[in-house]
């Protein structure tokens, strides 16, 4: 198999993560499929961090159970990671840092520090020495790495010819060192591969591309890990496409101004993480009540409270489904991979516009930063549903500037679908008050029991309409499976890999992975549950939030598999769960 998983462990701030990124980018641009995972502390500089990249000539669905190769830049990285190195794997280390214990691995000593200090004469090139060594020992080709380093450095503020030269020197010396001084005794080697039409990007980058393609033209947000890079990218891009960006004073203001822009007819979005999302709950209720479209990205991180800002968790599902007081229809979607961050955010805009309510997009820390190589064709223009506009019989909706008095327009008209034709300010606009108070069809405050009942039913009817209209999830695996797995969010690839491996071992397994979690596709899920003997629900949270929901809605007694340390599942962990229930 032409595949290899490399983990780099080091100190945050010394180029561990950026070094890993360079390998991933280089390999992907050379034609390999890549999938990365990183974990690092929240303290900006310092603390242990690790980067894992899995590369191969076949599509890659998960970060890999165990690294084949472990590169340690200090003793702490060795202590933390050596137990996870696969049997017969390779350790690359600097003998000046530590002496490894004997173990079931092949150890290559490479004097990273000495090469950087004495031969390159610039200690900061230590991570380039590491990259040169990795290239020399395992592939990917040094040319691929050189290209990425050149392009990264030339864009850097620190760019200068001497630094460039030193980096190149470090790469070459290290590669020469490992090929001349070490005799390769391991089987891990990336072979040649054909180039392909792919793009290489992380979840948040794909999400931003999707938002722009969906004609999102207003964004307001407040900085928070791991959603800030969405904000920073749109701050740069929006003015270039005629949009507007605002850094708000807090998340309340962020969502409030998004709703203001959306009221004005502009597709609008905000992005935050759990603590900021908590602040938005009041406005979610308002958006639902006043029926204003909005896309709200919640890049989940480990909670509660400040929690672990840089760690992965899928623990905002219950909150996203219920955030707000009162009965508050909203939609919740969760992307499964990088390509999904693009296409599902476009769908989220369609849903918000068509059903006139907030749509919460639940990505998570691991997916925000996960770099994948994706077929370029996964990023294509997609149709977006527009708002149903009010068309008056007379002059109001044809843009001739005539003013229509408020009492002539039923903004919240009762309809069979629950969707009421809307109107945004501008020429030919219909006037109405978008109030958070309960109201009649014309938007006037109304506290009559029968009106609140009818209006509540109208708002919820939109979810029924949506459940009928929206795409249904596809079953993955055996038609005659006895074991079913239902998951959500960024774990899909990992679950599918576990299904593949279980089927190879003779198990009958299938998986279902709904991207739309509100409204749930009831019939599809019921049919799936009925078609198998046992259902496993793996989630990266403590309480089993999807399992609770499936229990409450369908009476499902699922086998719960929960992981909540801040690190995603491996396929091996889910495979073990399949084997245990069989």
């Amino acid at each position: 198999m032409n595949e290899i998983t490399i983990r780099i462990g080091g100190e945050s701030g010394e180029g561990t993560i950026s070094g890993g990124d360079i390998i991933a980018l280089g390999a992907a641009r050379w034609g390999y499929h890549v999938y990365t995972f990183r974990t690092f502390p929240a303290e900006i500089l310092g603390g242990p961090c690790m980067f894992q990249v899995r590369m191969g000539d076949q599509p890659i669905k998960s970060m890999g159970d165990y690294p084949d190769v472990l590169v340690c830049l200090n003793k702490e990285a060795y202590d933390r990671n050596i137990s996870e190195l696969r049997h017969g794997g390779v350790l690359v280390y600097d003998p000046a840092d530590f002496t490894p214990d004997a173990g079931d691995f092949i150890a290559y000593a490479v004097p990273f520090n000495e090469i950087a200090r004495k031969e390159v004469q610039l200690f900061q090139t230590k991570n380039m020495v590491m990259l040169g060594a990795i290239s020399g020992l395992f592939g990917p080709p040094l040319e691929a790495i050189v290209q990425v380093v050149e392009s990264k450095l030339s864009k850097s503020r620190k760019a200068n010819p001497i630094l460039m030269e030193k980096n190149m020197l470090a790469l070459e010396i290290a590669k020469k060192y490992v090929t001349q001084q070490l005799s390769k005794r391991d089987p891990f080697q990336l072979g040649p591969v054909e180039k392909a039409n792919r793009v290489v990007l992380n979840g948040n980058q794909a999400l931003v591309a999707g938002a722009l393609a969906a004609k999102c033209r207003y964004f307001a947000g407040y900085p928070i890990t791991p959603a800030s890079d969405i904000m920073e990218a749109l701050a740069k891009e929006l003015p270039q496409v005629g949009g507007t960006f605002m850094q708000a004073e807090d998340e309340i203001a962020a969502l409030a101004s998004v709703l203001g822009a959306s009221f004005g007819g502009v597709r609008s979005m905000t992005a935050t993480s759990g603590p900021g999302f908590s602040l938005m709950t009041e406005l979610i209720g308002y958006a639902s009540m006043a029926e204003i479209p909005a896309v709200i990205v919640d890049a989940q991180r480990a909670g509660p409270s400040t929690g672990m800002p840089t760690k992965m968790e899928q623990s905002d599902l219950s909150f996203a489904l219920n955030a707000s007081h009162g009965d508050t229809p909203r939609m919740v979607v969760a992307p499964a991979d990088v390509a999904d961050c693009y296409s599902l955010i476009i769908q989220a805009f369609s849903m918000a516009e068509r059903y006139q309510m907030p749509v919460i997009f639940l990505t998570d820390q691991s997916l925000t930063a996960r770099v994948e190589s994706v077929d370029r064709n996964a990023f294509k223009p997609m149709e977006i549903e527009g708002r149903i506009k009010f068309e008056a019989n007379g002059s109001s909706a044809n843009g001739n500037g005539a003013f229509q008095a408020e009492h002539s327009y039923s903004r919240y008209a009762y309809t069979a679908s629950g969707i009421s034709p809307s109107s945004a300010p501008g020429p030919g606009a219909m006037a109405y008050v978008a109030t958070g108070l309960e109201h009649d069809e014309r938007g006037h405050p109304d506290y009559e029991p029968e009106d609140h009942t009818a209006m509540m039913e109208k708002r919820y009817r939109k979810l029924d309409t949506a459940a009928e209209e929206l795409p249904k999830p596809q079953r993955y695996g055996d038609e005659d499976a006895t074991i079913g797995i239902i998951g959500w969010g960024s774990t899909e690839g990992t679950i599918q890999e576990a299904v593949d491996r279980a089927r190879e071992k003779g198990y009958k397994v299938a998986a279902l992975h709904p991207r739309i979690l509100s409204p749930l596709p009831d019939r599809t899920i019921r049919d799936f549950i009925r078609s198998v003997k046992t259902v496993i629900v793996p989630e990266c949270n403590y309480s089993g939030q999807l399992a609770n929901l499936l229990g409450a809605k369908y009476g499902l007694q699922a086998i719960r598999v929960n992981k909540f340390g801040g690190i995603p599942f491996t396929a091996g962990e889910i495979l073990r769960a399949i084997e245990e229930v069989s």
């Binding site: 793009v199 591309a209 270039q240 370029r376 501008g426 006037h444």
Partner: protein
């Protein structure tokens, strides 16, 4: 921006819904609690952005809608249902705050002098930029200050120069008299103008071109 010439008459604002707010204010969403307490952070940042909007804050120094608790503008020591031993905190100074936020139009009016107040609101709306109008507006139900304010409200000195921010601040800090009129006014570019300026060179989003950076 598209400007649609529309002439509205009072009739256009009439609906068949009978207003049931207390005639004292009905200042739900536009009062001293909203702007100086729960929404003070938003007031600050809307002001710093110099967005072209007019903010009229109806200040009755009490929470009327929730039936008579203390407000940020209540006087120190003020006894209410929520401050049975007197207000322990200091009092918020709306005009001084607006001035230190560099608000480009700062004025005060009084609901008992509706003609003057209406004129200030009109000037605020004509002003290009963020205009802040502190409208003293007593609560006849929970904290009737008409008599006290009739005595303390004073026209701003005729020789006051509304371009003099420091002098304006001096007048704002006078807690004996409540000056009425324009404290400060300055025309300067708004954030919405600047934002429109940024997208002058805007082009249609080109997906192929955008994705090329990831190829």
């Amino acid at each position: 921006m598209i400007q649609t010439p529309v002439t509205l008459t009072p009739k256009d604002y009439k609906s068949e819904v009978k207003p049931t707010w207390c005639p004292g204010c009905g200042d739900f969403g536009v009062g001293d609690g909203d702007f100086f307490s729960i929404g003070v952070g938003h007031l600050v940042h809307a002001a710093l952005r110099n967005i072209d909007i007019t903010v009229v804050v109806m200040d009755n120094e009490t929470y009327g809608l929730t039936k008579g608790q203390t407000s940020p503008t209540s006087p120190h020591g003020h006894v209410t249902k929520s401050t049975p031993y007197g207000l322990l905190a200091s009092t918020f100074n709306p005009i001084a705050t607006a001035l230190t936020l560099n608000v480009s139009f700062v004025a005060r009016g009084y609901s008992a002098k509706p003609k003057e107040l209406a004129a200030l609101i009109e000037q605020g709306m004509t002003h290009h930029g963020f205009s802040f109008i502190h409208a003293l507006s007593p609560c006849p139900t929970f904290y009737n200050t008409f008599d006290a304010w009739d005595a303390s409200v004073t026209p701003i000195p005729a020789d006051h120069d509304p371009s003099d921010q420091m002098k304006a601040l001096g007048l704002a800090m006078d807690t004996e008299k409540q000056y009425m009129g324009i404290f400060y006014q300055e025309e300067r570019p708004t954030m919405d103008q600047a934002a429109h300026q940024l997208s002058q060179q805007a082009q249609e989003f080109d997906l192929d071109k955008y994705m090329a950076r990831y190829a």
